[in-house]
Symmetry: none
Subunit: 137 residues, 2 copies
DNA sequence: TTACCGATTACGAATTTCGTAACTCGGCTT
DNA sequence: AAGCCGAGTTACGAAATTCGTAATCGGTAA
């Protein structure tokens, strides 16, 4: 995992369809090298998979969740990641413990998720932020 | 957004490098049709981007940014989205105005980003949270 | 120096993507 | 009904990309 790997990953994260030839030109190496390295990164599991980010709903939001101190946040995260419309579940440092990133059809669907989180016994509080605009890096 | 679109999306979610020809064979249509539909889905914004899911020793973090009231957050977001290691820039409701989601090599790279944000004239304050664990929904 | 090994490069072949024109098939008009 | 339109689909040659593989390079140990 050197600087070249990181530059390749950076390009692929922005657009995973970028041809090896174009990546090679951008980072100053050959197509074969890019190909070898990407293959190695996949083998090593650094690249988990090539995928697409979709926006099927109209509304994205972050739901920040605080859980009781004696609770295993892994279990709660696991559970919440199964909920509909949930894109990511992050365990974070800071005031709150878990952040849900959700992509829902409307405010009602977001509210359902908040309600469901609040109804969970281990959840102490939630704080929701609507994502008003998203820009890709 | 019909059943064919959804099947194509499912395949791409699983492996975004699947050739159109292979998708076409799997869903029982032609390469051109898959190409047209994927292009349309991208245009419509249903497919936000082609990307990679990485499972690295990398450090992910949220950097929450508050900007001065008289500042156009669009401009600031635009600028920050160009910074290296920045995955998303969200304009959000709530106490802070902008959230950067970053995926950097180490704490130093994260710190560089925080520093850069704080050095920006329009930025009033920042609050950083490390993402300790990420789960896909 | 020499041998060796992994990484890189080079290059022709196979595959995929791309541009575009023809075709199909409802729905609509006359 | 006949004719027409338009979106979606299909067909196909050309361009671009990926792939397989062999040669080359660069560093290192003996």
């Amino acid at each position: 995992m050197d600087e070249l790997d990181r530059r390749i990953l950076d390009i692929l994260r922005r657009d995973a369809r970028t041809p090896n030839t174009e990546i090679a030109a951008e980072v100053g190496t050959s197509e074969g090298t890019v190909r070898n390295r990407v293959e190695r990164l996949v083998d090593e599991g650094v690249i988990e998979r090539f995928t697409i980010a979709t926006r099927t709903g109209n509304l994205k939001a972050m739901i920040e969740v605080t859980v009781a101190v004696d609770v295993d946040t892994n279990d709660v995260s696991e559970l919440m990641s199964e909920w509909k419309d949930v894109d990511f579940v992050w365990q974070v440092s800071g005031e709150e413990d878990i952040v849900l990133v959700v992509d829902a059809a409307d405010t009602r669907a977001v509210n359902d998720l908040i309600t469901r989180a609040r109804e969970h016994d281990d959840v102490k509080s939630t704080k929701t932020r609507l994502i008003l605009d998203e820009r890709l890096g």
